[in-house]
Amino acid sequence: MRKTWDFHGGIHPEENKHQSTQFPIVDAPLPNKVILPLQQHIGAPAEPVVLVGEKVKTGQLIAKADGFISANIHASISGTVVAIEDHAIPHASGMTDECIIIESDGQDEWVELEPLADWESASVDQLLNKIASAGIVGMGGAGFPTAVKARTRERHSIDTLVINAAECEPYITSDDMAMRTYPEQVITGAKILCQLVDPSSCLIGIEDNKPEAIKALQDAAKGTHIEVVVIPTKYPSGGEKQLIQILTGREVPSGGLPADIGVVCQNVGTTIAIYKAITQGEPLISRVTTLTGNAFNRRQNFTVRLGTPINELLELGDFDQKAASRLLMGGPMMGFSLQGDELPVVKTTNCLLAPTHDEFPDPELENPCIRCGMCEQACPAELLPQQLHWFAKAQEFEKAQLFNLFDCIECGACAFVCPSHIPLVQYYRYAKAEIRREDEEAKKAERAKIRFEQRQARLEREEAEKAAKRKARMAASAKPKTAPAATAASATSSAPALDEAEQKKLKIQRAAAAVALKKADKALAEGKEANADNLAEPEQAQQQAQQKLNDIDSKLGTAKPSASSAAAPANSQVSEEREKALKQAKIAAAASKAAIKKAEKALATAQEAGDEAEIKAKEADLATAKANADKAADKLKALQSAPAPSATATAPTTDNSAALAEQQKAEHEKALKQAKIAAAASKAAIKKAEKALVTAQEAGDEADIKAKEEAVATAKANAEKAADKLKALQDTPPSAAPSAAAGNAAALAQQTEQQKAEQEKALKQAKIAAAASKAAIKKAEKALTAAQESGDASEIQNCEQALTTAKGKAEAAANKLADLQQQANATEAKPAADTNAKTSSSAPSEEDTAAKGKALKQAKIILAATRTALKKAEKALAEAEQSGDADAISEQQQTLARCQKKFADAEQKMAELTGDEQGNNTVSKGNEADTASV
């Protein structure tokens, strides 16, 4: 006889096992349908691998383990998958979970099973794979995937394998009856486990209240190293940790696993399942379940297919609904009440208990704790149940954890002995759930914190990048002004050439000429400073140098076009060349401007010096410089206004009109940009001229004033021209050419798309203009208030005028914007109509709805915008009322009325749109609600 130990506490409830051991195990009839929850185990739910409507055979895999801790699920009958949906499952919460529902075809047709014939020579991996694929989980109650548990050997050294056959909970006899009926299966299953775990000893722990089972097992185990150890009956000796302590005297450490002390524990039902999986290839599709309790007239053990609805079993057990006080799954100590009977049997259902009111009266009223300490005497985990109860009640979860709440196995021994009928286990379950929830929340909070910090860092980084970009842009825009000559030189040198040798030569010459010019300039300046009489010589030298430089420049200029025309059949190359030429022309213009400036400066110094001849000479210089500048400007203009003639020339040869259109668009865009730059430059020129005029007026020199006024006028005229050009460019989208390819539908589509893009651009511009005009109004208003404060009447008038003009402009901008938007809508509608006409019958409605959806969205946006405006207006009105200014109030009231009208219009439009769109009731309802709230 092997030495056994004892564990602390424990209770001796009435066993009530004899009721269900009078008859042998019987196969329950095949169910009409089975409900198989995807999660019948601890870990992740399985992943369905069948579809609704699919025919399945018994034993076929229907859901695959998802992740490391998970288990396969197999069809337990043959038939058709009728649903994969949420269904009530046996769970303390009475809630639903995802299940696969199979309707039986009554055939019970099995898949071909693949047993491991000679498992004794099979490898550990083969055995583990077989167990895992059979979907075996711990059948004792927890449902931990067995293959994972059997793998503990990989990380722990195991010396003892314990087969848990104690079955300590009252009423339940499924393991007892299974051991009596299939002792060889238990022993063979244990042998397979021994091969997996390779322990030095294998112990089957069984309580002494099952003499038949003990005898059967001892007979079957004869000649093996498996030892059947009989232990005294005491609840909860079937608890894993308790049984290990009884058999080995070792205590599983707090928060640890049995594997930490070299023990692996498996339930006896699990060993039978392993036997079936290995030697017969049969997956886990059935189990032995006890039907007991006096409300059953037939109390017996049945082999039940998993997923069998409990109501079919109730019928089988001749269940008396009236006599039953309730229906439990599991035993009386650790089971839970079932709500409803449309629930399936799952892998861990060892017992269905239907006691009468005599057996299980309603629970007693909970009384206050009297601190008797009986619970502490009963606790098998050596905890202080009373203290834990107080902590749970006071929500002092941290203290409860300090008192090892998580070592509680929820056996119910403490509640069983409690004279105050306190539902202690419920308190512990509640406290455990709260602690887990708090942990979860803490984890989530940590993640949220990290995300928040990362977002903050990202925003800062983006801001810094933006600032850096702005700085770079400012620096870039400042550069060309300060060093036009430098860029000119670099640009010329950077221009790639076809006739490289020639160009190189010219460039070298040009550089030399530039140096000579500089020298001459310097000499001239020195001469002037010295007030030398004979300035003709250096002047001449300077002029010569200038001439030479100009010559070289022109040569350089002609060299390139000729080269390009000779060797540029390709379109892109031509445009590239043109771009280069344009660049050069621009540079030339800039250089000539600089020359004018220089000349002007020289003239000014000459005037100061008062030397008339000198002045004249300088004036002549200035004139030539201006003429040069004009020429450069003309050239630039010519280049800009002739949008790629070569491109149009080559167009017919290239059939691809789309490419042409794209090119033209690019050209157009470029031209637009240039025009804009020109406009900006002319504006700057006006400013300069005006400034000069002011200084001239201050100086009081009439002739000068006149000249300056003229300059201002010309500058203004230039600006106007530039503006006109800009306008013309903006107004005429480059869509003339592709008309040649009108027959080509693809080209047409492209064209419309292009037009749309243009329109969008225009829309954007108009929006910007509107915004700018709004800003102008604001500014004007501000100026007006400032003027009013200062009390200057004429100023006020001026400001008012400015304000009205700004308002007029804003209105015009708004009108234009509206027009453009309308146009955009029209063009958007047009292509849809075109395609409709083309595709005739195929799918007009779909496109229609798409267009409508877009319109609806726009309407929504407008509605939102008007709503904001309305809100603003209301706010402004309130402010005005507070300030008590009657004029302001009436004005604000007017604006408010206007806003309201606009809002109403927008809503009407929206309502129309939504009204058109049938079936989209929610949106229209939302609108009604909006209207009501207004």
Partner: protein, 202 residues
């Protein structure tokens, strides 16, 4: 030397004390540099107690700023998402008296997540800019949606929405997050009670 000290006991004591004082001073000085604590550690401790919803209901732009404010003497009852338990934890940490939460009672304790009614979303990206934890995905003129797993339920996205298509929905109880209810205490029957607590009457 020894003779000198034995002859002048007072001087010896003074010198001894001075030597000791300078030695310990040097040690302390070294330790204060070597083991210097960056920032205020109490702020970190407070920040760890806060729920990190970054909702701003306390009047500070995020949890850390509120933690700094508490360290500087702000009230500890301004965090409705944290609820009673956070306030109590803060009271314990700061050694202050617990105080009632500064919020509507119905707001406390109900976990919520934002939900965008997707067919009404116009794609304005305003909610995306408002979300402190980047839990909303979407782009301009494209429908947005909330990553429910990352949403802290701060409801900062509700206000900016121009079409009011964001709802704050309470987190649904499913079988995954269900937990046992708390017993009602003395003089009540626990409804899901089983035999184990019936006092062995069976």
């Amino acid at each position: 030397m020894t003779e000198f000290f034995t002859n002048h006991p007072v001087l010896a004591a003074v010198i001894g004390l001075l030597v000791l004082a300078s030695a310990f001073g040097a040690m302390l000085g070294y330790a204060s540099i070597r083991f210097k604590v960056e920032g205020n550690p109490i702020v970190d401790q407070i920040d760890n107690l806060l729920p990190q919803t970054q909702c701003g209901q306390c009047g500070h732009p995020g949890c850390r700023p509120y933690a700094e404010a508490i360290a500087n003497g702000d009230d500890i009852n301004k965090c409705p998402p944290g609820g009673e338990s956070t306030m109590e934890a803060l009271a314990e940490l700061m050694g202050r008296d617990p105080m009632p939460l500064d919020a509507d009672l119905e707001d406390i304790g109900v976990k919520k997540v934002a939900y965008i009614r997707e067919d009404e979303c116009i794609g304005c990206t305003k909610c995306i800019q408002a979300c402190p934890v980047d839990a909303i995905v979407g782009a301009t003129k494209l429908m947005h949606t909330v990553i429910a797993k990352e949403c802290t339920g701060c409801d900062l996205c509700v206000e900016p929405c121009p079409v009011d298509c964001i709802d704050m929905l309470p987190v649904e109880t499913t079988i995954k997050n269900w937990s046992w209810p708390v017993p009602e205490g003395p003089n009540a029957r626990f409804s899901t009670q089983v035999f184990a607590t019936d006092g062995g009457q069976a």
